[in-house]
Each structure stands twice: as structure tokens, then as C-alpha cells.
Amino acid sequence: MPVLWLFVLLLVIAAVAFFAGRATVLRTVKGKSRLLHSLPGFYGWYTSILTFVPAFLVLIVWVIVQPLIINHAVAPMITSAQDDIQRSLMADDVQNIAKGLDLMSAQGLLPQETSAMPDDLRGMLGSVGVALGSDPTEDKYAAALEFRALSRIGSIALTAVVLMVAGAGFLIARRQVTPTMMARNKVEDFVRSLLILSASIAILTTVGIVLSLVFSTIKFFGLYPAADFFFGLTWSPSFQGESELGLLPLIWGTLFISLIALLVAVPIGLFAAVYLSEYASSSMRAIAKPALEVLAGIPTIVYGLFALLTVGPLLRTLFGDGGTFGVNWMTSADAAITAGLVMGMMLIPFVSSLSDDIINAVPQAMRDGSLGLGATPSETIRQVVLPAALPGIVGAILLAASRAIGETMIVVLGAGAAAQISMNPFDAMTTVTTRIVAQLTGDLDFSSPTALVAFALGMTLFVITLGLNVLALFIVRKYQEQYE
């Protein structure tokens, strides 16, 4: 890993620069550090930063840009390509061949560097773990050799340039370092920009999410009509083509299951929160509150397994063929009700802890006012506390809904895979999240609509949950301001 070693070398140089900078400024004042504007260490840091940062940036940009340039340079060598799309696909092969050759020579498997293509190149590459999309051809092999040659030149040039930039930075810093220089302020400015950079990672993440969804979604709509996707009533993907990719059954399943979950979680969570904050003795609170919080800390895979192996079979013995109730409503243990029930369980602590916060934010004076008029505690809660807390509680329910819609593991394991629009909670249904998992696992061909549809589904999911979250956050924030 030459880049890694170059990076380590750069770190060592930066460390040296720190001590050099510190020593230089101390020498100019003959060790009397009181004469300096800043502590001696800051001069060291300043030198070190100026040495390291520009060189490091060059290193990163170079590593990213080099393969692009080289690809561009070797692209004309791929003569067997008929058009640009094919050429770009073949360029991947060229890169893979080059990578494979590198691996083989690193492991000593490459007997000699020949310009003639070995017969069993594909097999040889396979033995070092590089799989090719198509059979290697002579022109690709030649391009790969060229690719390797250019890469080698590139990496030598990279080392030289990076070291030169580091050296230049060091020299500039040395010239600037004088006892009156405000080294601390400069170092702090740098630290501050690092802090800003970290804070903007949140934005970058969102941008990353949006970009990764948008590009592939657009690509998908190029292959599959958007109207058919949004308004289609059938979901039957087929990797051989002729897929029908209608969103509606998935949305239906998602909303149906989420609704069941909310029907379970909201009353139970809300009543639990009310009881805990208004009635429970402190010893009861000390037991019940953590118990509910434990439910929140359990990973969703556990709930998924619980749905698949415990709740589903249980419901089937109750409602299935020859079951306890003799109703034969349920044919398979995977059903909307299974996933909905378990998801409701998962959401109880979510609803209860959010509502608890919100109910506690209602000032005690309100309760006193009502109790002082002779209202019973429950009248106080129903007629004063809950109406006052209503916006906050609505916000909490919206957040819970967004959770339910985006939940994956419970539905993957508990809801089944049948994409259908049905009113019967005992039917198997499927959701947007389960289909994303189904379309994006395994070996993928990112140019087929069956894989790309996952991005369109992801986009739909992201937009829905984003809308709910922003709305909920807005409501909750407004609510909190009211009592501040």
C-alpha cells in the first residue's frame, strides 16, 4: 500500500515540523518564551499544519483523480467497443484486469510480464479473487498493461509532488514564524475550520443520501415509466425482464402495517406515559420506566425473529385453519397483523417516552389550577393536560409513524412477501423496505430496472419519512417554545 506508506511518512514529517517550528521560535527569543505572542507549542503546531495539510489535500485529490485520468487515456485502446456505453463498461474490466495483475504479481503468481495475453487470464484472475464481467480480449489486456504502466508513473509522481508540497509548506511556515506572529489565533482558526467541517458532515450525509437516490432513480425512470411505477397496481419483478413494478401495493402494505402498529402502540404508550407521569408512585416508576425502556433498546432483528417464530405461529394457531377459534382467517404465519403487532410492541416505549417528556413539559400550575377547582386527576389529564400537550403528542405520533414506515427487519421477517392490496390484516403483505432489501441483496446488475427500482423505492421512503419528520419536529419545537 504505497499510498498508506506515503501518508505515514507525511505524518512523520509533520511531527518533525512541529518540533522544528517550536525550536526555531524559541531560538529567536533565546528561550525566553514570555517574549512570544503565543505559547511555543502553537508555533510548532502552525509549522506542522502548514507542512501537513496542503500535502495531504494534494494526496487525496491525486488518489481520486489519477484513475479517472488514466481511464480516459486508455479508453481509446479498447477497440472492440461499439459505443461509449459499452466502452465505459469495458473500462471497468480493464481496471479489474489491471488490479488482478497487480495482485498476482504481489503474490508472485505472475511468471513474467508478457504483452501477449495468457490463455487462462480469467481463471488466473479468479484465483486471486478478481471476477470479470465478460471474457478478456486482447485489446483489453493491452489497455490493462498500459493502465498499469501509467499507474506506476503516477504513483512515483505522486510521491514526489506530495513531498515537494510538504517541503514548501514547511519553508513558508518557517519564514512566517516570528515571535510576534499570532500563532495561537492561526492555529485556533484552523481548529475552528475542522470543527465546521465536522459539523457539515451532517449536511454531506444528507447530500450523499439524496444524490445516491436521485441519480439511480432518474436512471430507473429512464428504463421504466414513472407513471407505471407510481400508479401501478402490480408488483412482480422478474430478473429476465418484463417486470411489473407498481408502487401502490407496497405503499398499501407499508401503511396498513404501520397503522396496525400505531393502533397498538399509541393507546398503550400514551396511557402508560400518563399513568407513569401522573399517578405512579416513585417506586413503581423506578421499575416500570426502565422496563419499557428495555423494549426500546432491543434491536429490531430480535423483534423480527420474535414475529417470525413466536407471534406468527401463535396467531396462526389462534386464527388459522383448525385453530383455537376455528375461524380459518389466517393461512400463513407471515401476515400484516404479525408484523404490525410486533412493530407496535417495539413502538410502545418510543411513544411513551416522547409523550412522557411532553406531558411533563405542561406546567404544574395548569394541574394545580384544575385540581384547585375540584377536578379529579383524570378530568385534569383529559381536559387540561392532554389538550395542552396535544401538539407535542401529535408530533410524537408522527415520529412513531415515520419509524413504523421505515422499519425493516420486523417486516422482512414477519410480514411475508406477497405484494397485494387487501383489507384483511391476516393476509401476507409486503412493504417498501422489504422490497428494497429483496431487490438489493445478492449479485446485482445495476443497469437493470429490477435493481434500480430499489433506489426509486428508497427515494419514496426517504421523501415520506422526511416529510413526517420535518412536520413532527416543527410541531414539537413550536410546542416546546410555548412553555419555555
Binding site: S281, D368, G369, G372, L373, G374, A375, T376, V384
Partner: protein
């Protein structure tokens, strides 16, 4: 009304509304009220004064069992309302509080309309048979709260939109609407400006005609202005209780005298 006229205040002592006998209050380990005995007359304004933390608010909250809402609070002794022990097991605090209304230190209108604020009590206690009767009760209460003229055109505006003084008068109207027999006021003017305070004090004096009013205040001037009887609390003890005129002009206990003259506070 605003002058310190302490003479010719006929106190009708014929009817004792509330009698406390040997009342002790504990908050966990701390002993907040120590053996308090007091008899409070009907149709009178009684003021509780004393330095902060002396227990006057705590004692006030015992009178309609608002202390029940605090887990660690324990009350012993007897408090009789019309000769019935309000801490009797058979007594429902809800019924008690309908008879003994309360106005709090900070105005606390519910986040509802002005109308609904006042109608809240009558509604939960089932005082009105129909909408017209409820309207009547609300209007009467708002008139008694001396705020009717200011809000009659916007009864359905939120109560929280009123000014501080208006809010407090709304809260008084709200308390009056349930037709209590006793009205407890816990420093009702401490969050108000002088003009609003004057309005509320005037109102208190009017309320005396129909109710037994007990007011906690740490303003001695206010006690002197509005009350006929004054009780002075200090460190959980009821130090002195008597006619307001006598307490302020001729206190019997040296502690009362120190407080009145500003030496303890």
C-alpha cells in the same frame, strides 16, 4: 379602600367557617407546620403573613387538600369546615375543592378560550343543565371577577392572550364560577403590577360579601388594606392571630412586632 383605615371594620364572628385544631404538616422529615390552631370566620378576609418559608402557603394548601398531590407531604390534626373534618376518610377531596376554591400565585389560565376557562368548573361539577344556564354562570362569574367588560366581546379568544392582571382576574372568576364557600388565594398579586394589584384588591374586598376569603401575602400593606383578620406565621408556628387593626398597631408577640417593623423578613 387603599388607605390604611384600620378602624370601623366590623368583623362578624358569629359564624366560624374553618377551624384548625393542632395541625402539623411534615414534608418527608422536615416539620413544616407546628401545632397550628386557628378559627376562620365566614364572610371575612383573613390574611396570612410572615417571612418566606414560614409555612403560610403550606397551611393554606392544607385547607383544600392541595397538599394531597405532593407524595411526601403528611398532615395530622383536625381541620373542620362547617364542623366536618376535611381529612376524614369519607371526604372526597374533589367535593371539598368544589367548596373551597383556590387562586394561585401565578395566573394559570388553561390554554383554552376565556369562556371555556370559566365554564370548566361548572362543567365538571355539573352546575349547568344547558348551554343557556352555563352562559349565565360564566357571565355572572366574569362580572364577579370584575373582568366582564374587558372580555365580553372576545369570550372565545384564548385566555392566555390576556395581560397578567386580566389573567389573574380570569382565574378568580374561574374559581368563583363553581360557587365555592371559601376562596383561598396564594399571593394572588405577587406577579402583578401595582395597577393590576389595586384592581385585584378591590375585587377581594367585594368578594368578602359572599365568601370567606383567605389570602396569603408577604406584603404587609396589602394585608392591612384588604383583610379584617390577620395571622402571622413564623418558622411553621402560628405566632399571633387577631384583628388586622390590632396586629398592625398593637402586636402582642415580640416576633410579630419585629416583623411588622421590618426587623425579620
Amino acid at each position: 379602600m387603599n388607605q390604611m383605615s384600620l378602624i370601623d371594620r366590623a368583623v362578624d364572628m358569629t359564624h366560624i367557617k374553618i377551624a384548625a385544631r393542632g395541625v402539623n404538616v411534615y414534608y418527608g422529615d422536615s416539620h413544616a407546620i407546628k401545632d397550628v390552631n386557628v378559627e376562620i370566620a365566614d364572610k371575612t378576609v383573613t390574611a396570612f403573613i410572615g417571612p418566606s418559608g414560614c409555612g403560610k402557603s403550606t397551611f393554606l394548601r392544607c385547607l383544600n387538600r392541595m397538599n394531597d398531590t405532593i407524595d411526601i407531604c403528611r398532615v395530622t390534626g383536625d381541620i373542620l369546615l362547617d364542623n366536618e373534618d376535611i381529612y376524614d376518610k369519607r371526604v372526597d377531596p374533589v367535593q371539598l375543592r368544589a367548596k373551597v376554591g383556590m387562586v394561585f400565585q401565578k395566573p394559570n389560565p388553561f390554554p383554552k378560550s376565556i369562556y371555556d376557562n370559566v365554564a370548566y368548573g361548572p362543567r365538571i361539577h355539573g352546575l349547568a343543565k344547558n348551554k343557556a344556564e352555563l352562559d349565565e354562570i360564566v357571565e355572572k362569574a366574569l362580572r364577579r371577577g370584575a373582568i366582564w367588560n374587558e372580555v365580553k366581546d372576545r369570550l372565545h379568544a384564548p385566555g392566555t392572550g390576556l395581560s397578567g392582571g386580566q389573567q389573574q382576574r380570569l382565574c378568580i372568576a374561574r374559581a368563583v364560577a363553581t360557587e365555592p364557600e371559601v376562596l383561598l388565594m396564594d399571593e394572588p398579586c405577587s406577579a402583578l403590577d401595582p395597577i393590576a394589584t389595586a384592581q385585584v384588591e378591590e375585587l377581594i374586598d367585594e368578594l368578602r360579601q359572599d365568601y370567606s376569603v383567605i389570602i396569603v401575602t408577604h406584603s404587609m400593606q396589602q394585608a392591612a388594606r384588604v383583610s379584617q383578620k390577620t395571622a402571622f406565621f413564623h418558622l411553621g408556628n402560628l405566632v399571633e392571630y387577631g384583628d388586622t387593626g390590632q396586629i398592625f398597631t398593637n402586636p402582642r408577640d415580640p416576633r410579630t412586632e419585629s416583623y411588622i417593623s421590618g426587623r425579620i423578613g
